[in-house]
Point group: C2
Chain length 154, copies 2
């Protein structure tokens, strides 16, 4: 087979791709087991809960979630049906709309958070020593910045 990564790199890449998939799958399963939320639901709620006036433009939300625009439209619609968010049209740009967290949504987040965070801790964080955590933070922060910059500058 053609190789343009050496063995060390390949081992690193494979461990990452497989394990991160397993981790996501496990977290999703845990979250669904102790809440009515999926992982994407949860991430939407977190971002909204931290935003000023608990609302975000659709585009901004999509970009932070790494969702396609149409995926976000669909996803927000399903969350709207469940009362977790509402959509409001944007006063300063009438093309735009914003997703706004509801009291129900905030409550759902508050109830799910401890379980979910415990799950993150149990499956990932508790296993990392300080140096490893620092390393992951540094590597992935850099990676995210680089990928975001690459997209913006196209």
């Amino acid at each position: 087979m053609v190789e343009s990564l050496d063995n060390t790199q390949m081992a690193c890449w494979r461990a990452f791709i497989e394990s991160s998939q397993r981790l996501i799958t496990q977290l999703e399963e845990d979250l669904r087991a102790d809440s009515e939320l999926s992982l994407p639901d949860y991430h939407v709620l977190v971002l909204l809960s931290e935003a000023p006036r608990q609302r975000l433009r659709m585009g901004e939300l999509a970009s932070r979630l790494v969702f396609s625009p149409s995926r976000l439209t669909y996803h927000v619609s399903t969350m709207e049906r469940r009362g977790l968010v509402v959509r409001e049209s944007c006063p300063e740009d009438r093309r735009g709309s914003q997703a706004v967290l509801t009291a129900t949504g905030l409550l759902a987040l508050r109830e799910a958070a401890p379980h979910h965070l415990a799950s993150v801790r149990r499956h990932l964080m508790d296993d990392l020593d300080e140096a490893e955590m620092a390393c992951l933070t540094r590597v992935f922060t850099r990676l995210g910045d680089r990928l975001t910059a690459a997209r913006t500058s196209d």
Copy 2:
């Protein structure tokens, strides 16, 4: 907001979850741009190409890919339509079937691999120093082992 991860842990977790999603999205886009394959297609082909007699039981393949059984059934069917793999029934267990790599599939993999690996290198590997790579390998290998063990022992 309820917090059961401290700031350091939270920063680590968020950087990881967002950046790994961005990375996958970027690799998928690159791969599609210079081949007819999706990332899942590619992973199927890699695993088959490395297996003895270039074939694997559906269950084994699903478990390594972190696919649900029905997802693999569907996915192998689409790949079969494109001539990348064929399905053969399993001689030693008549319930089972195996996915077998075809010459077309191997060729597709060989053509896609250099581009894909270059893409992995460009977006991730080139940015890691030796210590970081060792750290990622160690962390994710351990994580994968732990998650796999947890699933097996349920």
